[in-house]
């Protein structure tokens, strides 16, 4: 890597990390995590030995149900006839397996919590991606930057990569902080029953899928912000597309559904199939989303290279 390129990358990273929006959302995330820690600590109670045994029995029953070794009333069918990705929900929430009587925070549920927090973080990644470049256009610093790095392709791609890295890093840092912050809560006021290999598999699988989605969202946000030369324009386009255009297309044009960004994102992030897009595998959904991000980014790069900077 040339000294000039590494200088540009370091400069961009420092510039991005110095942005107030990053610090603001970082502070909000820390505040949210602190509130969650306090709320869960207050609500949850350290289970007694009997409650722990009850919890273990419950988790074992749920696992047996998922594995199909526990019989359920015949009129509800056998769990093994239920699609694998729906078995846990069925076993846990259908009510046939009696849950623990007391409200105890279980760290084993954190994989679901991480999955849940991924959704706002994906939206935030889009916003940050758009803002990192939109603010540059608004301030006019792109003009200044081009008097320092005249190779537009190099400048744009560097900015895009740094923006995506910063957004992904930010989202993962928030989730890591959440996981770390809840660990002592589980140890002191909750339970770590069920934190096993399957839990970590589910957790890291979810984090891995969320990582790609953070990258996709930030790249698309950056690309739209760069093309519209404005953060607000990017947010408007993103909202109109997701809330109006894609809703209209999936509602009135059934052939479009397999190409829906939201539908594929649901499949990818949840790691489960969806009735919205029958037959779409999780991997295919992730590939399609990555292709969308690459396509939009390539188009934005070509536009940036060709358009006048006035």
């Amino acid at each position: 890597m040339s000294a000039r390129l590494s200088g540009l990358i370091i400069s961009e990273i420092r510039r991005s990390l110095s942005r107030r929006i990053i610090r603001l959302f970082g502070a909000l995330a820390v505040l949210g995590i602190l509130i969650a820690v306090v709320a869960v600590s207050v609500q949850s109670e350290k289970p007694s030995a009997a409650a722990t045994a009850e919890l273990r029995a419950y988790e074992a029953a749920v696992q047996a149900c998922i594995d199909g070794t526990t019989g359920l009333p015949e009129e509800f069918g056998r769990p093994l006839e239920i699609p694998p990705n729906e078995r846990e929900d069925f076993c846990r929430y259908s009510g046939f397996i009696q849950g623990p009587s007391r409200e105890t925070f279980s760290y084993a549920n954190m994989d679901g919590v991480v999955l849940g927090t991924s959704v706002p973080l994906i939206i935030l990644s889009f916003l940050l991606g758009a803002s990192l470049i939109g603010a540059e256009w608004r301030a006019g610093t792109i003009t200044t930057m081009l008097t320092w790095e005249s190779n537009r392709l190099r400048l744009f791609v560097t900015k895009l990569i740094v923006a995506v890295a910063v957004c992904v890093g930010f989202a993962l840092a928030v989730q890591a902080l959440l996981l770390l912050a809840m660990l002592p809560v589980a140890a002191i006021r909750g339970s770590t029953v069920g934190v096993d290999g399957a839990f970590f598999g589910s957790l890291f699988g979810g984090l891995g899928r969320a990582t790609l989605m953070f990258a996709v969202a930030s790249a698309i946000g950056f690309a739209i912000g760069a093309t519209g030369r404005n953060t607000a324009a990017a947010l408007g386009v993103g909202f109109v597309y997701v809330a109006v255009i894609e809703g209209f297309l999936t509602g009135f044009l059934p052939w479009f559904r397999p190409w829906s960004m939201v539908g594929n994102a649901i499949i990818w992030v949840s790691g489960e199939g969806s009735r919205e897009i029958i037959g779409r595998s999780v991997g295919a959904a992730g590939f399609l989303l990555a292709a969308y991000a690459a396509g939009v980014s390539t188009l934005a790069t070509a536009i940036f290279r060709a358009r006048d900077v006035t």
């Binding site: 006019g140 610093t141 900077v309």
Partner: protein
Amino acid sequence: MSAVIEIEGLRKEYRRLRAAPTLAIDGLDLSVPAGGVFGFLGPNGSGKTTTIRCLLGLINASGGRTRMLGSDVPARLDRVLGRIGAIVETPTLFPTFTGRRNLELLGRIQGIGRDRVQVVLERVDLAERADEIVKHYSLGMKQRLGIASALLRDPELLILDEPANGLDPAGIKEVRDLMRTLAEEGRTVFVSSHILSEVQQTCDRVAILARGRCVAAGPVGEVLTAGRRRGVLVRVQDPAKAADVLGKARFEATVRGDLVAVAVDPDDAATVTKTLASKRIYLSEMRPDEVDLETVFLELTGPQESPE
């Protein structure tokens, strides 16, 4: 004298969806020699900033050829960019960062360290305010920070677009002195400005742009006197009588307000005083009939356009 900027037949046409194309630059030819301060003048919309943007590759020219420091630009701009410092219109740096941090981040791109940042901050007299957020800077301070950013690379060629914008008189003088100092160090300063008196005092050469074309270029003195006869202005008690006396003595003399303008080489002004004194008309003042840049500018660019 080698040219640091060469422009041949530069054209820039802006195309718009629902309007006729606008010709911002119409076959501009310009050559800026190395060294000294070169003033680039023109009324609003004459194409000055567009020309600078074309040189820096910010906008694509519709035609023509541009070269800087011997390289075709923008195609080979990356080869010479390290030898050029530029600010375009109002300097644009991140408003929520300090002045120092802005410069450090820019300098980082080309491996320029903090020592050099401190040097340029001191040079533009911003060192004491360098750790304040740019958003809180006055326009004049932003201009000085912009000049500091242009100086970071220790450039051979400085392109400054309206560097005195927003500066108070003291600030304007500082910028003028800075430009002169930079030129004396052997750099070329290419500056567009609307403050004609400043250009006249600061620049060695000027080019005047009107409607996308260069209408005059050369050393300031030549541009001021081009197509004009030299002369002197004479103040007397009765200008009409003095003009009549000089006319009869075969001088070309006209009354201009309470003065008499006489077309004569200032070196031969003694003949005027002698002629008037012989008729008992005595002078209270005599000075060269100089034309200021503003007059030339308005004549060349047309009365319908005001200086930018």
